[in-house]
Symmetry: C2
């Protein structure tokens, strides 16, 4: 229950800022749990659990709306210029977490479709990719919690691993599709699920860049190449 009487007392700027950072960390935790649950139902072929994950996504969406609103209210108290970065991060990071939640729910949704066809053996590689994504999300939320710009840069660098794992799974799935037309439908779902996990990595990278900006201000991060080569290679 968040309706305890003391919630009606206006908190100090710093207290409210701390509360909001806590809410954002909580959002990140829910998204990571959703993602882990989604990876789990793919393996267990559990429709009821998948439906539960899909239903839970609304909670992240609602939190995102609430947090944006509260961050803006805080901004309107007229903070000092040094708080501007905290406010911008507080508006942007929840948007990325909300998108990660959507992708987790989408993995769960596609697992329902996969469950209507015979099992495919390639879900282990998908799970490995998913665990890389979970790790990226958890690490970047820790970087946010600890104002740790170096850790954020590490997460951003490690996105290359996720991209490489995605590209490798992508090519693997294509060969299964070419071998047997009956694999096309399930493998197409797996392709999109893999793409969802790769996109989660991109959002973790966005969060990492926001943590850098929060801690380091205008100090530029080096420009970074996109490494998902599946969209530019013809032979895949």
């Amino acid at each position: 229950m968040n309706n305890a009487p003391h919630d009606h007392i206006v908190k100090s700027y710093d207290e409210e800022q701390r509360r909001l950072i806590g809410e954002i960390l909580h959002m990140g935790e829910i998204a990571a749990a959703q993602l882990e649950a989604a990876l789990d139902v793919v393996e267990r072929r559990d429709d009821r659990a998948a439906q539960r994950i899909i239903g839970n996504d609304e909670a992240i969406d609602a939190l995102e709306r609430k947090v944006s609103h509260d961050v803006m209210q805080l901004a309107l108290r007229g903070p000092m210029a040094r708080d501007l970065r905290e406010i911008l991060a507080g508006l942007r990071i929840p948007t990325d977490i909300e998108r990660i939640g959507d992708y987790a729910a989408n993995v769960a949704k596609r697992s329902l479709a996969l469950n209507t066809v015979p099992p495919v053996p390639h879900t282990t590689t998908l799970k490995a990719l998913g665990h890389l994504a979970v790790r990226q999300l958890r690490d970047v939320m820790e970087a946010y919690r600890d104002n740790d710009a170096e850790k954020a840069v590490l997460v951003r660098e490690r996105d290359a691993e996720l991209d490489a794992a995605y590209t490798s799974l992508f090519r693997e799935l294509l060969t299964y599709m070419m071998e047997d037309a009956r694999n096309i439908t399930p493998c197409t779902h797996l392709l999109f699920m893999a793409k969802n996990l790769e996109r989660i990595g991109d959002h973790a990278t966005n969060i990492a860049e926001n943590v850098w900006f929060l801690v380091k201000g205008d100090t530029p991060l080096p420009p970074r190449e996109k490494r998902d080569t599946t969209s530019t290679t013809g032979q895949l």
Copy 2:
């Protein structure tokens, strides 16, 4: 040149707000032009034009960073509560436009991959889907320009058409893949391109919801079902 001396004079709150709305409309126009150009290069198989579109995406990204920064600066002048919605819209709409720009660049990028394999005949349906997406973007930007909540609701409703066109193309592409394994690689690119266009529709819908919120405040929009059924149907 935007460096004329009068730019150094601090503008009034209203003037600055109008200028920022103009910048956001300009962002939308660039994204729509990028998307149209991307659809065009898919048809013409023009690698140089595709590279140009990919390069242009940085301009939208830079505008988004600039606009967010300026909107926050405006917020810090301590606007009235009634301006809060304008500021939230000014922070959120550019994010969606920036994502639309990314998807347009991704369509161009995948067209490069398509150009390395023999032509596939299914690009006409893709173009039709793309034109629906362009129309959604242009209409929602007009709704934003004119504070037209009803037009925004129409755009949101029409997203169902885009979803239906996507689902139909998705199924069509799967049949081509099943017919001939040589179609799998190009059709996989087309699948992802189609998905990019469908996602552009989702971002246009996000913008429509922000326009509604801007004009109508807390008056709720009716809950809306996700209609992309490709992720939940087994047989596709």
